[in-house]
Symmetry: C2
Subunit: 82 residues, 2 copies
């Protein structure tokens, strides 16, 4: 299954509780698209959020995020990693 | 020690061997800045590279990358993670 990193840029002021809720919303529906969100990192100051996932396609990752209420078009297939 | 995610956008066509070399170049000098690069993910198709590190400051991370030959100004302090 390919691995993806996606980027959100409008999460200014995100709290730990809000991040937990964002992630929970993805986890609640991800299996509909055979996606799994593994990790998430947030910079509340600049509003950046990075999500690491596995799934069948970029579009599947985008659909989960969109349905969960935080759409992004910035989804990159990270074919290489260390 | 704060955690950082940084983004490079000009790594088109990166191979696994080239990614290993990019990461090795960071690891070779990171201790000069009390930085440690933990993980790296690359999308050779769009040229995106994401690096996860720990260190004392954004500037320290930027200095390591610059000296290693792949500078970026996109370094985000990811204060929250899951």
């Amino acid at each position: 299954m390919p691995t993806f990193m996606d980027v959100h840029r409008e999460m200014h002021g995100l709290t730990a509780a809000a991040l937990t809720e964002v992630h929970r919303a993805d986890l609640a529906i991800e299996s509909d698209e055979q996606v799994h969100f593994e990790r998430v990192w947030a910079d509340p100051e600049t509003g950046h959020l990075f999500c690491l996932s596995e799934g069948p396609s970029r579009e599947a990752v985008m659909r989960v995020h969109a349905r969960a209420g935080h759409p992004t078009s910035e989804v990159y297939e990270v074919a290489l990693s260390i």
